[in-house]
Point group: C2
Chain length 239, copies 2
């Protein structure tokens, strides 16, 4: 937790950039157990969806921490990157959502693909509250306050036909595909829409579908990465 992420309902007194915040949950445990925070301790904080800044611990015990906060700094700009992610297994999904938030990805679309196990769509990790929790954990790691927008598309072909061109309008469209002869481009400043397949990759029909919508298959080298490895590697390469 490199930044203590405050929710609007944590704030009890707001006066411009200043406020008091009272924490009770996981964040209180973390402050006590990991940070060993005592009164007077300075912390980096941020308001979900808002600014970030500093806080001083006023009081802390087993039931609550009271912080005096000043929120006067904008969070770093989001990466102009939309990730189209074939739904991974639930445990991997949690990590991928955290990584997307930590790395500053602007938007994530969780989508179906032939090799996505149907059972993954029944995971409680897809509930909005579960997604939001993983995004918050990722923001706390990265030091950010603005979560990516996350959408869910359970049917790939209607998504591609009806919404993909609008969603990817004005962006460079890339599809991560280990078999592609073209290397992933480097150091791009323009907005990008990046499709990342399931373990085992996209099937040929899916590659063709994305190519039909203007996506260029690109590869990161001769080795096959797990999606948890591929996403940071792609972001590191593209940015």
């Amino acid at each position: 937790m490199n930044l203590v992420l405050l929710l609007p309902e944590d704030l009890i007194e707001r006066d411009g950039p200043c406020a008091r915040a009272v924490l009770h949950d996981r964040r209180l445990d973390h402050l006590r157990r990991v940070h060993r925070a005592a009164p007077g301790r300075e912390l980096r904080v941020g308001l979900l969806g808002g600014r970030q800044g500093r806080a001083t611990v006023e009081a802390i015990d087993a039931t609550a921490a009271t912080l005096r906060v000043v929120l006067d700094t904008p969070s770093p700009p989001k990466l102009p990157l939309t990730l189209l992610l074939a739904l991974p297994r639930p445990k991997t999904l949690r990590r991928m959502l955290q990584t997307a938030a930590t790395m500053g990805i602007q938007r994530v679309v969780l989508m179906n693909s032939w090799r996505v196990d149907k059972s993954y769509w029944k995971s409680p990790q897809l509930e909005p509250a579960a997604i939001a929790e993983q995004l918050r954990l990722g923001l706390e790691q990265g030091g950010d306050t603005m979560p990516p927008q996350v959408d869910v598309e359970r049917l790939l072909v209607p998504f591609a036909k009806e919404r993909l061109d609008v969603l990817a309008a004005g962006t460079t469209r890339l599809l991560a595909h280990p078999a592609a002869p073209t290397p992933c481009p480097r150091h791009r400043a323009e907005p990008i829409t990046l499709a990342l397949g399931p373990e085992g990759g996209f099937i040929a029909d899916e590659v063709a579908l994305f190519e039909h919508h203007g996506f260029a298959p690109v590869a990161l080298g001769p080795r096959l990465l797990r999606v948890e490895q591929a996403l940071p590697a792609l972001v590191g390469r593209l940015t």
Copy 2:
């Protein structure tokens, strides 16, 4: 398991690039359970430390799989990258070793650092057999047969004073440091030695120690990544 990694002791008949291999362990389970392999099935295989190629399943049951293999293709070249990694917590260590092997990193030095919890040095994950197992899993994911060399340095200062300059001779020396004003360079072809700190980062004295040995602190952007995210992001950026 994108490549079935064979050990020399699995081979019962060798004749040039051709051999028969008999598998019993985790790999047999995986072939039956995940690949649902039956006689006649073609698989990608490789010999640990040697070449890779194709295999055909001759027989498979609950006790053994017999493969007819042809090992005629070299593995992709290793990345000319030595990773100096502050020892992470055991669960993260396993993933990092897998990632190093999957991404083709040539050499890994697990080293101490101020913020490394002392208990991590007692982990059974540091035993050579445990390290070798994680490397094999990483090679099977990446489709490689040549594991990185892994060394363990329990004392940072003697390591830096006595062995670091020899180890890093002729390489570009980089230290991943989120506070650094210099961005991590991109698309380097030359050999690199990259130091990656623990969660919480290197302390100032350690940064100074590495700078004294010619390491340039570099950052990946304004956000703080977990080491599991930072390593692929750095490799994606550097390669």
